[in-house]
Symmetry: C2
Subunit: 433 residues, 2 copies
């Protein structure tokens, strides 16, 4: 039986949901051509406050309901689209739609990162697809490349600038020499950071996205709580000065690596060489560098958030789901729900380090510091020493190390704080080559 139309049920008419509704209406003809029949919005689950938005006022109010039961009881919905965000009630709604054997499209990184495996299992049990391209990186294709284009590869590494807010702040700190609070302020004024920016600046948002990408890339369940997570608020303008002097940029990277034995997943600020492609990714842009055994290095770049780019990914997923409905097939996408490889403890990772220390300006201090590092098998690759305060007789020492183990570095840092000559460990940042 040929479908006359594909019915869409949309949950949420906020910034993302409103834009998705707008595209479904404005581009109805072009989308119908792609799918083979029209995509028809049959019901929209709204909150009372959504109804004051311009997009709501441009739409037939008969489409709206604030009642979840009425929404799910709407006949002739083939594809449910979730654009609510957050864990609850989105998780219940997604579970309800999949349990009712409906294809589902979601833009919800938190739910997929935390509950992706259960939801995908539920989708498979009910023979329907769960599409979540928009959950990571806005309109940048990231989910579909792992599911399709790169599937012949063994992925060894992912290096991602995957949070636009922090990248905007870091770009501003690097360019304008301002400190973190001032750069954050500016991001908030421009609407790039929320009033409560914790999820962004502490790396939590990036960790959700990394959990999704690493799970897909490694065919192994990586949960948000598996990811070591460190934000950008400790960085100071002096760190950017030294980074430039040493030939590096500072970025908040989400890193996932896979060896035969284990998986390494972490989100933290890193020094990266200033001539690397990721160092050039500025402002609110995102970029994901993937390393595979066949493909070598591939990089995906674009706007990682915002209503328009996110709607690009949601609509692509809706079209894919609609084609599946017409062809009568479930999703081809697989997310191996294998128990997963071991997650390497943070103490065992190995990297180079940048250290900035405030020390007493007297003879022998560098020798003491070098000895502590040497005792932990950490060798120094370069040192910059500058007199900071001639009255207080303190100097600033910046050390770049050769690769060392995190555990050794943490022990060395602990010992350094006990040296009377060391006034303060101003900062330490990991380095990725």
């Amino acid at each position: 039986m040929k479908k006359q139309s594909i019915g869409i049920g949309l949950m949420g008419l906020g910034v993302i949901g409103g834009q998705v509704a707008k595209v479904l209406i404005d581009k109805a003809d072009a989308l119908a051509e792609q799918v083979g029949c029209p995509l028809v919005l049959r019901k929209v689950k709204v909150l009372p406050q959504d109804l004051t938005r311009p997009q709501a006022q441009a739409m037939d109010s008969q489409l709206f309901t604030t009642d979840a039961d009425e929404f799910f009881a709407t006949p002739e919905i083939d594809v449910f689209v979730e654009a609510i965000g957050g864990e609850s009630p989105a998780l219940e709604y997604l579970t309800r739609a999949l349990s009712d054997s409906k294809h589902v499209v979601t833009a919800n990184k938190e739910v997929i990162a935390k509950h992706g495996v259960e939801l995908l299992t539920l989708a498979q049990q009910h023979g329907v697809g769960l599409h979540y391209e928009a959950a990571v990186g806005g309109g940048i294709p990231l989910i579909s490349p792992f599911q399709r284009d790169l599937l012949a590869n063994k992925i060894s590494g992912i290096y991602a600038i995957i949070n636009g807010t922090t990248n905007f702040i870091l770009t501003r700190m690097a360019r304008d020499g301002v400190d973190f609070p001032s750069a954050l302020n500016r991001a908030q004024e421009l609407g790039y950071a929320e009033a409560n920016p914790r999820d962004d600046i502490e790396g939590i948002d990036a960790a959700y996205k990394l959990a999704i990408l690493a799970s897909l890339a490694f065919h192994s369940q990586v949960r948000p709580e598996d990811i070591y997570c460190e934000g950008i608020s400790r960085l100071g303008s002096r760190d950017f000065q030294y980074a430039r002097e040493l030939g590096f940029a500072i970025k908040l990277l989400a890193i996932a690596k896979q060896s035969d034995e284990s998986i390494e997943v972490r989100v933290h600020p890193v020094f990266i060489p200033e001539d690397s492609l990721l160092a050039k990714v500025d402002g609110v842009y995102n970029a994901v560098l993937v390393e595979g055994d066949l493909v070598g290095k591939v990089l995906f770049f674009g706007e990682g958030a915002g209503a328009l780019p996110t709607s690009s990914a949601v609509i692509a997923d809706i079209v894919a789901a609609a084609q599946d409905v017409i062809l009568g097939i479930g999703s081809r996408a697989k997310w191996g729900a294998q128990p997963g490889k071991d997650i390497k403890p943070m103490s065992e990772i190995e990297t180079r380090y940048y250290l900035r220390l405030n020390v007493a300006d007297r003879p022998g201090v560098l020798a003491q510091i070098s000895k502590v590092l040497g005792d932990h098998q950490i060798s120094i690759s370069s040192v910059i020493q500058k007199l900071v305060d001639s009255v207080a007789q303190t100097a600033e020492i910046v050390i770049m190390t050769h690769p060392a183990q995190e555990k050794a570095m943490q022990q060395a840092l602990d010992e350094l704080t006990h040296l009377t000559a060391v006034k303060e460990i101003s900062n330490f940042v990991r380095v990725e080559a």
Copy 2:
């Protein structure tokens, strides 16, 4: 009926074909898991010289045949893979496989660029898929993003570094200050350029790839002969010096733009701002920047050629085709075979220009040149004048213009050659901002 296996017929056991065979064998288990049943190589169409390659010697010789009829008569082939390259006999073989209602995977840019519409029509008539991800950009996902991820967008522009040989040569000229012949020589020594490098350095290879991308992106047939094509052999080391001085890099770009009325497609060297992301794409790497109304700018970067990256794309296509066989569906991919929009004549494009002129070093020359440009409504944005040869009393003038029409510029260039003060128009290069 559940398939026990998917039979693969491989045409060509050269560099690409050999690597595809190797991955099918080495990664058999992982691929079987993706597909749901094993992918089994049933026959390989070879040339006698292929049999001396190490990959051939590692395989069961019963698989090989040099006879096309024997190859196509092999039972239980579900997916034909073409890795021969070039127009003939690849086109006949692809036609034969599709006419026999077999799914087909090809890495052949020339055949797809020249005959893609007929072949895709043939595939649709026979209810099978024609997959060609590997035809453009090696392992970088480029076809599938247009077919799936970006389909909700109206694409306004494509800016692509899509030929690794020329990008290697240009990178070398920029970094080492060498001239074109020496950089080409080096590329040939390293195996990045062929003994007969014409297709690469004249932009023909890039034009094939642009025809494929533009046709997909604009849902409109763009043929290789529609594309204005200019190679890199006219560039000299002095052009790179001036480019650097002016804040630009020089790249061979494949450019496609779409307006409501027409399509603009061209391959030629361009000045691009040195801080743009494309300017950072060096060596044999490729990158494709796409602009869409929803997604904004997205960029795809990676190795655009080579056996390993290309096999990544071929295998992904084989898996997709195998899944289609199992699900009993033809390809979802559509290439609108619409007659197509008008191609804008090159004379009507508008861009900024870089001009390098060798002139008599005497008063009033710049005034004469400015007048000729001004007569054609071309305004100058900056001028550099340097004394080159004090004996010959000639100077070099470099002019950057504001945006002007190509026709006006060509007429101005013609008039400039007739000025006695102008000894030579050393070069002119278009500028993209």
